[in-house]
């Protein structure tokens, strides 16, 4: 009978059969973890950018502050700030006007089937805040 024949290396064959599945799981965990971490980093960076941008009524300076602060925050998260796309948007810049900061960060698609559909490859976060209405020194 086939089942009673000596089959050396059967464990290796079984292991090789199962290995892709295990690798898929590990790759999925790593990819999801990376995506979530980047999402947290972009959220913090967008908040930080908005918080710094609204501290001035000088639009040029506000944009610079809103652009620079997220980069420091991303660096604090260990994420390369050079890769991030930071957008500081405001219709007009004045007391109490809205400023929106968006931080996007590209992440590689996970090496799993349909990986680019499971996880967005460009992770973005936005924060909206109004500029200070009152401040001692602008």
């Amino acid at each position: 009978m086939l089942g009673r024949k000596k089959r050396p290396g059967q464990s290796y064959v079984e292991f090789v059969l199962v290995l892709p599945l295990l690798l898929l799981l590990v790759a999925g965990v790593i990819a999801f973890g990376q995506a979530f971490y980047v999402k947290l980093a972009t959220q913090a960076a967008a908040w930080s950018g908005a918080r710094h941008a609204i501290a001035t009524v000088n639009g040029q300076r506000g944009v610079w502050q809103g652009y620079t602060a997220p980069r420091y925050t991303l660096a604090g998260f260990g994420v390369n700030p050079e890769t991030a796309q930071v957008t500081v948007a405001a219709d007009v810049w004045g007391r109490g006007t809205n400023v929106q900061v968006q931080v996007c960060y590209p992440v590689p698609a996970p090496p799993v089937p349909f990986g680019d559909r499971l996880i967005p490859t460009n992770i973005c976060s936005q924060t909206l805040m109004p500029t200070y209405k009152w401040k001692a020194k602008w």
Partner: protein, 150 residues
């Protein structure tokens, strides 16, 4: 050189047995990582939103009161309403249950409290439909006017 010994019959299929035991554990681990990530991300989003609402509200200083009394007082109901508006914009899933102004050491603070309903994906299979994560943010109008007319 010795020949490889054949696997005894009673040990055949051992890897498959291990896989059958460990695979559900690995899958559960993957699911928990996924759900944990979702929950933490939604919780942090709600916290940032509540904080953004408070920052916006802290700017609603009443200039007339300052001019008359020299005190920095937040306008009511504008300040809480501003907190609601900006928190809702930054996280539509955040439900602010209360926004109030309190005094601490003769300084006003605006406090926003609320919650966000977090819906897991993996744990839903085990009947866990959601968690309620509470958030709280505090801000004070520290940057406010220091002299009349500002």
């Amino acid at each position: 050189m010795s020949k490889l010994k054949p696997i005894p019959r009673r040990e055949r299929g051992q890897v498959l047995v291990w896989v059958a035991i460990l695979l559900p554990l690995f899958l559960a681990l993957t699911g928990l990582v996924f759900d944990g990530g979702i929950m933490w991300q939604q919780y942090m989003r709600a916290r940032w939103a509540a904080s953004a609402g408070c920052v916006a509200a802290a700017s609603e200083i009443d200039p007339q009161v300052f001019q008359d009394t020299g005190r920095m007082v937040l306008k009511l109901p504008e300040a809480p309403q501003t907190a609601f508006n900006y928190a809702a914009w930054n996280d539509p899933d955040l439900y602010l249950t209360s926004v109030y102004v309190r005094e601490e050491n003769a300084t006003q603070q605006i406090v926003a409290e609320g919650y966000t309903q977090i819906e897991p994906v993996f744990l839903r299979m085990f009947g866990v439909t959601g968690f309620r994560a509470t958030v709280r943010a505090v801000e004070r109008p520290a940057w406010g006017v220091v002299s009349a007319g500002e």
